[in-house]
Subunit: 285 residues, 3 copies
């Protein structure tokens, strides 16, 4: 758990700092909303933002001592499954609740959330089965989170078949981002905030432009809008979010590093942040 | 966890294979539905089916190596309680959601689900307290699942007192099925899919015919129908499901055994399926 | 876990014994209801009652062997967080459901529950950070429960800013009750039923009288009622509950002690109640 806590705190700060701006861009009459960008429950506003902030924080803070040579697998897979299950159920409130009404759109947002999440859990599992030879419960849980992220911007706009496609593609994309891409780039993102939240959020935001079309089972695009045109608008929204969030995160991290520092001491890191920062141990058996 | 994973996979396949048929028998104009069989949220359709498939799979696949001499108690009761709690809450969506509307029937389905589940948790606990001398949290959790299963077919049809009776009887019946009956028959059903889902489902399906009667607090039987007549129809539905599911499960298992085999190698089983099949460990403490 | 189980059982009995009386005082035309006492979802009816019963039980039963010298920290903080999370989500049903309708009051009850709980989690965390030098996840979880308790009587009556204030004050008050006050008085309340449920319930019940006022964002007091007058009525309700519950709990505990005894034998307590009373172990790793 080295660095995880302080990193989370910093990433939370970064999201807090850049989310309000992007939020006003998309919702309540901002320029991305005026442009016609679709983001039902916060795909770019929350997840692309968080994922980019996490990546920038990983790069600025540097790696945990010992990474990647020391074995740093999740230490309790039961907790992973419980956490993913709680997220899955809580997310129904997040996506369906974004309709701010108990109507058919909220019901469909809930149904597509379920479908996309299940599809992503399976597509990640089958991807790792093909590539690594064995399916794992960590893969199922990670894929589910990727699916939840990807369906978030699409949830009020797409139908069941669109959700199936978005989920399946999110599971595969997040799997490659969290394994092949992460290894290739060498950054240390212990929770795969970039691989799951940024990549899942980008996939979901772009595909919302495709599957929102009435011809593909969605609620329909604005009058006169083509799928290509909508995807281009979605791309602009994603790109603007990435650039804004990366720049703001970098500035805030550098400022924090100068003022209070971003890393704990070597001794504290070796002892573990649970003990050194919180005076707690996970287990006293 | 030996065999649990592959067995679950096989059982899931079997349910997938026989559920659609039974589902069409009961809902949407099938012969059991025409006959007047009552199954609000899937007692015969899902749970009797699953329980019978689990029993047949246990018999065809055979026992885990070392069963029943080796100690194979649940290894983490905290997880058992967490899992049962999540099932309990999720089941409200399953039973109340089967009304497909937010109305009084859905509200009553939710209330009777709570009542029956609590009653079954207590009746299992008191049964084992009387028989084994001590109440246990595993008994409370198992009883709760038995109650959830038993109220499933009844949930839109019975009132609070009917739910109390169904739950109490389900807890006692499932307790005897998962202890005395299992030991007597000698099959190795590690999750008690038969003892809890089949027995709980059968009890619930039959008692739905009793407590759906208006004189016993239910929504009332069809015009001119007696309690005896309704229970007979429920019995036909249960019996048809058992026979159909047992035969289809047996055929599929034998086919799978011939094609890909049902059991892992002795080495893999001894190493444990977590490690040999999924390359994962539950805990790295 | 020594004593925890039997203590819980006894406390449950005590609550069962005194809750119905207080419930009829407050709801359905009792004297506290006629006086104008506000208790939306059971702050005095459930939590002050439970907290006082817990304190009386702690005093009558005495301390666990070895308390307070032996180290008795929570043995699994992951479970603590999971349990607090489940409580938090379940509590939405408790508070919003007390409206018995799906309307704006239920929605606001849910929103203020979220706000007060988050505020209390943070205010406990910051309190311990200031006093003990480090923030902890146990503090966040404990503060969340304190906030849930405190917002319970207020949930249908106050607005978001009132919830923020109630939560913040509950977190700080419960922190001092569960640490400084507990140490000073020397009672052994392993679950902090008094520190969290009684103190949180009292804070919430009194502040309901303040923040229910329309001038402070609430739904408004009865015609002609001042904030001071309402707080005085809330104080009478709390005081009556404390006296009633303490007396009844003391009588029941003394009776139970004479008839069946309240404590297990020294051997059973040393072996642990899990093993000696339930024949179960939490972990078989």
């Amino acid at each position: 758990m080295l660095c995880a806590t302080i990193r989370s705190g910093v990433v939370s700060l970064l999201i807090s700092a850049s989310t309000p701006r992007v939020c006003h861009w998309v919702w309540g009459g901002g320029w991305l909303g005026d442009l016609g960008a679709l983001d039902f429950a916060g795909g770019t506003v929350v997840h692309v933002n968080a994922g980019i902030a996490g990546l920038v924080a990983s790069l600025v803070m540097g790696k945990r001592r010992g990474f990647p040579d020391a074995m740093m697998a999740p230490h309790n897979l039961g907790y992973t499954v419980i956490g993913a299950s709680m997220l899955w159920v809580g997310w129904f409130g997040f996506n369906a609740g974004s309709e701010l009404a108990a109507d058919g759109t909220a019901g469909m947002a809930m149904a597509v959330t379920q479908i996309a999440t299940a599809a992503a859990a399976l597509s990640w599992m089958f991807s790792e089965w093909v590539i690594h030879g064995k399916p794992s419960v960590l893969g199922i849980a990670s894929g589910a989170v990727g699916g939840l992220v990807a369906i978030t911007p699409a949830s009020g706009f797409v139908g069941p078949m669109g959700a199936l496609a978005i989920g399946a593609m999110a599971g595969i994309s997040c799997f490659f981002a969290a394994t092949t891409l992460k290894r290739a780039l060498g950054y240390d993102d212990s929770l795969d905030v970039f691989g799951v939240h940024a990549v899942g959020g980008i996939i979901g935001a772009l595909l919302t432009g495709v599957f929102a079309a009435a011809s593909l089972g969605g609620v329909g695009l604005a009058e006169g809008m083509t799928i290509g045109g909508q995807v281009w608008i979605q791309f602009i929204a994603v790109a603007a979010t990435i650039v804004w969030c990366a720049v703001i995160s970098f500035i805030i991290l550098k400022l924090l590093n100068a003022i209070i520092g971003l890393r704990v001491s070597e001794d504290d890191e070796t002892a573990g942040l649970d003990v050194s920062q919180h005076d707690e141990r996970g287990y006293i058996l």
